[in-house]
Amino acid sequence: MTLAAGGSTFSASGPPCYSALVNDWICPAYVSDRRTEIADALLEHVLITLAAVALGFVLALPLALVARRYTAVESAIVAATTIIYTVPSLALFALLVNITALSPWTVIIGLALYTLTILVRNMLAGLRDVPADVKESAVGLGYGPGRLLLRVELPLALPVIMAGLRVATVSTVALTTVGTLVAYGGLGDLLSNGIRTDFKAQILTASVLCVALAVVFDALLMGTQRVLTPWTRGRK
């Protein structure tokens, strides 16, 4: 291991905690000196995560509806999403490179495929748990299938769907780091650069930011759910 501190920006006096000779884990000077680079990585991380989860959600909803309509297809869809989930992320990205080359889409599509496992299952479970008498009442009131789905079934299934969305989002934040394989890993790129240059401050900062990002997303989704489903608030 060399002591090269992974940067070119140290002045003659050197920053207090990272330089050719100092390599501290905790280093506020690193964060302020490299704030643009850190913000860029963070932004890329957020965008990849959001795109992947959004794509996963858009794919999962029709899959869940088809699976619910045709029971023969249900086990096939659930099995397919489980099989995708079994493939390690590094391998999935490597396989997707054949189709999407070295682009952010490699990571976004790969991560979206992973979210299908939990999203499809929870959508199915949420829709299945809607009480039959509630559906009958809606049909009796003259609700067609479309309006029944949008106005009755999806709102009642929302807590379970949102629980799935939270799990999917938190996992996606963590897995985005592996996207560094194709150089689109958001904070993961800071991690791999950090290990190449043995730069401890960069590694710890990126790690902490990544966990913090997962916590923030989780809290935001929890808040959204509380706003969207006011009727669940009284219960515990």
Binding site: T86, P88, A94, A174, T177, G188, I195, S207, V215
Partner: protein, 245 residues
Amino acid sequence: MGEAFAYLLDGDSWSGSNGLGQQLVQQVLLTVVSLAVATVLSLPVALWLGHIGKGGAIAINISNIGRAIPVFAVLVLLSVGPVGTDVLGPFGRAGAATLISLVLFALPPIITNAYVGVRGVDPEIVEAARGMGMAERRIFTRVEWPLALPLVLTGLRLALVQVWATATIAALVAGPGLGNTITNGFANSRIDQVTAGAILVAVVALLLEGAAFAAERLVDPMRASRRANRHSQRTPSVPTVEPIV
């Protein structure tokens, strides 16, 4: 794709140090050892917590925490930090850092599922066993453990999938395993090698999952009765919780 299969069928790709053969052995060894260590470390505690009904918040939240922590970050922190990247016997470069990461990420699914499995046993059944004069030890071994077994095995299967995936990522910190074929392929702009490595990793992952799934079915003590029920009458199905990790 065709070139990738050609790479896989070429004997030279498999031989030598850091060939596919050595990497495969390394990764299987890492997976088996870390899964065994994680099971020995956590399963007894998780089962016991489930039996006495305490520590549920920790047992369940550990899976949520595990999900939020990037595997790659832990690998980097350990290998740059105190554990280092020295070669560890058959586990290869950064073997210790990789093993520790694998054990850490195997723990959450094992703990959560074992706890939920024991805790989820119908309290009336446990009461009945107690009423029959069964000692606590016997209640656990004869009632709770058999009923919890399917979920315990689900936890082990999820841990296996997690460990295999994590072991693949170890290559990103220049660690051991089949991920090296993928990362080296990228470094040398050899897309056939990248794809070949990915296919091998995916195929072994699916074989492991399939084997674990079969074992799960085989050991499930309720399998026979469930099958009987299916023919006779529709019994209300027990909702099986399968926490995704």
